[in-house]
Symmetry: C2
Subunit: 409 residues, 2 copies
Amino acid sequence: MALIVQKYGGTSVGSIEKIKKVAERVIEYCKKGNRLVVVLSAMAGQTDSLIRLSKEIIDTPDPRELDVLMATGEQVSVSLFAIAVKSMGYDCRSLLGFQASIHTDQIYGKARIRKVDTNRIIRELDENRIIAVAGFQGIDESSNITTLGRGGSDTTAVALAAVLKADLCEIFTDVEGVFSADPNICTHAKKLDRISYEEMLELASLGAKVLDIRSLEFAKKFNVPIHVRSSFTKSEGTMVVEENKEMEKVMVSGVVFDKNEARITIVKAPDRPGIAFKIFDPVFKAGVVVDMIVQNTSAEGLTDLTFTVTKTDFQETMKLLKQVVQEIGAEKVLGDQDIAKVSIVGLGMKNHAGVASKMFETLSKENINISMISTSEIKISCVIEEKYTELAVRTLHESFGLGDEKEKN
Amino acid sequence: MALIVQKYGGTSVGSIEKIKKVAERVIEYCKKGNRLVVVLSAMAGQTDSLIRLSKEIIDTPDPRELDVLMATGEQVSVSLFAIAVKSMGYDCRSLLGFQASIHTDQIYGKARIRKVDTNRIIRELDENRIIAVAGFQGIDESSNITTLGRGGSDTTAVALAAVLKADLCEIFTDVEGVFSADPNICTHAKKLDRISYEEMLELASLGAKVLDIRSLEFAKKFNVPIHVRSSFTKSEGTMVVEENKEMEKVMVSGVVFDKNEARITIVKAPDRPGIAFKIFDPVFKAGVVVDMIVQNTSAEGLTDLTFTVTKTDFQETMKLLKQVVQEIGAEKVLGDQDIAKVSIVGLGMKNHAGVASKMFETLSKENINISMISTSEIKISCVIEEKYTELAVRTLHESFGLGDEKEKN
């Protein structure tokens, strides 16, 4: 008798009909003798319409109260789901964040799970009930409602799987699994049967939207096997698991891109200790997340410093830096929003030389200029002009032989 | 510095604009140095649309899960209210049932408050915050969400006023207060400045929809002064308070009617011990609420037994009784849905003889036949044909001199 934690996203529970379908699917698992903990997101569109409602009052609603408001989304879907399961003759109970004892820190809007007290869930499971847990929400130590941020339901599911020592954590979503590239761009893109936590982490942080990054960190830490699969078909998806020797034979697993970043360059900043701090301190303090940072070697005591931020933070960061440039005596600040980041990810890179040079060669053959490069053990990212994104993804996908052979013929 | 508990109903918070208005009103009270605990209902229409959603799944949704669903209504309004107050520069916190420690029994859908732990509310008040409490909801001893049934937010407000020993409990609603009769029927109806808990209890249970009955029982028990007033004007409403000598001088305070009942008669039942039990036991077990019961004196060992139920329970009760009639050997069961109950209420009746006969005389002058009579210390109810309801209310209102003299001229 296996214990399975399943998570269904917003599109999977987007209507009463779809909620019933999910209920049927969950009951099928029960009939096979499994015990089920089901984590649900809010019905698709619900979260956005709640945000809109609050913005009718003020542009920046109070974060504590916004979390109270947002948490109703998952409360609606778990209660409707439990009503559906019970209407089909199976016992089911919904549990909200405070009932499932999901304790977080107090950072409203993007809280982190600190601990989960499993007593209540185990008691309910022992009563032979299906447990429906509201994703995305928890409580802080003063019983205030917190939410985990977008993608938070993934984190709820993986955290529960970890503390309950579940046999499997299944993430049901609107795609078939993790692909070697976006199938909308590469028609030959191949569904990956297995991928390591590390690769998936890189893919997620580089723009693949299948799984939330924090949930992967959790899964890796507690070694929770994750099955990413479609809620609309029965076919197998992608298993995300601990790396093994077999996996390292694969040089590159996938190609991803991210069009949400913008590039900023500080031109001819004086190259002396503390200059990076002076530049980035106001940026970080404004809550801007900086991704890649590249500093050129100094020439004549001056250096260029380039980095990327998300497009939404671009204007604010440019404004901040115009002042900083004056203070530190740099020449000027340049910005470019028409860029994209294209990355290849693969465990095999660790042991194979020449992956980077093959990537650069592939792009150069298509006359695509690389303006920034950043590498880690298992990924290489290049910033290029935005208009070449799809071309770059397709040629890289092909040159590394990632396509599905059957599809090709 | 007074502590005031205020309750705003669904129409008072029916839109973002109205929620802002309520926030402004509450802040005005704060500026005068008062401490505020504000209880809110769900935005008008919200509760009904949640019920509809659940009924798309099944006609009789699981009661536990229905309460989880319903509780989101008040969660939305308190969080939006708190966002509005904070956007106006005042500190405010929303508290849900579990946070405000409103403990109830486990009867989902119509739970009763057992105790309220005020620690959290007092702590938040001491931080100079306005407290917004979600009405209508609580938790049972296993931390399951319960709801108090329709009108439950009134009960939440009065219960909080009682345990917090508030100086005043203000119920803001869409009417100006309690009237001597429905102003839609009697144009001369007068707003009552003061009324006793007992009279208000009778009025509420006889069909006046201004205040929930359970909230009045609470108010009476803990002697909480209630001010019923309009959320759309600034004028004074009606104070509901403990009775005093002054009040007893008023013979009749108001006339009310109720068209929601139907009458059922068991004809020629054998008049022997246990017969009432045999008739009513299956009815009560089916959850039907019986209001008036009248049994005629026995003639030839046979008796007629008449009682009223709500129109929604009428069909089911008739079906039940057709079987009972056969079992006990009565002649038949008759039903009539075209009835209305008209009642007069007043503390003064206790000491004034002749109020009943004046009521009967007034109705007889208009040729209105009375088919059932029921009395208590401070009210007299008569069942009449439904079509005479308005006529009866108007003539009783006039004959007892309840109208507003100024309006008359």
